[in-house]
């Protein structure tokens, strides 16, 4: 597709379950970002991938969060043993190059942990 694609668009899960969120960036974009937006808050940086460089995981809030990216394509964000405070919109963005001057965002995954 022409834009950043995220799936699922909505996910409802029970506390303690694992969830996997998927991001398909724009073809040719070497950089990929995950952000989280809790209700009433700004976007919170989670993780950054750039080409074959080691990812910047400095924003991951706990060891329950992990993310992978296969080459310069699809990325998955996994949250293990979900907690209610994990409820948020998870946004993926990609850019051509790692300068961060123009990010293209997906529509996000709304995660609700009951």
């Amino acid at each position: 597709g022409a834009g950043v694609s995220q799936s699922p668009s909505n996910k409802v899960t029970e506390k303690g379950k694992d969830v996997e969120l998927r991001c398909d960036p724009i073809s040719g974009h070497t950089a990929l970002y995950w952000y989280r937006q809790r209700l009433g808050q700004g976007l919170e940086f989670l993780i950054y991938f750039q080409g074959n460089s080691a990812p910047d995981k400095s924003g991951l809030p706990s060891d329950r969060f992990s993310a992978e990216r296969t080459g310069e394509s699809v990325s998955t964000l996994t949250i293990q043993r979900t907690q209610q405070e994990d409820s948020a919109v998870y946004l993926c963005a990609s850019s051509f190059g790692g300068s961060g001057e123009k990010l293209f965002f997906g529509s996000g995954t709304q995660l609700s942990v009951l």
């Binding site: 834009g3 009433g40 300068s99 990010l103 293209f104 997906g106």
Partner: protein
Amino acid sequence: AQSVTQLDSQVPVFEEAPVELRCNYSSSVSVYLFWYVQYPNQGLQLLLKYLSGSTLVKSINGFEAEFNKSQTSFHLRKPSVHISDTAEYFCAVRGSSGGSNYKLTFGKGTLLTVNP
């Protein structure tokens, strides 16, 4: 590290009225500044950015923002809004140099609602 403050969470205005969405930032280094817009049911998209040069930057749909270093501000303005400008607007900042200059810090957003 940087931070961004968007003082107004919601701004309602009437069509054809002027609007200003305020953004202030904090940073110990030189910065680049951005405004992103999120229309209903769409992803965020870049509206305009300041990297260097002229402190007044403009978008293709009539918005403009001015970088004011002394006031650490980057307010967004439009002289006459349309119904179609209804959206959430996010101000963002990143360092202009350094190892983590890809990392954008966002404000909490301002919901602009344009009423007929």
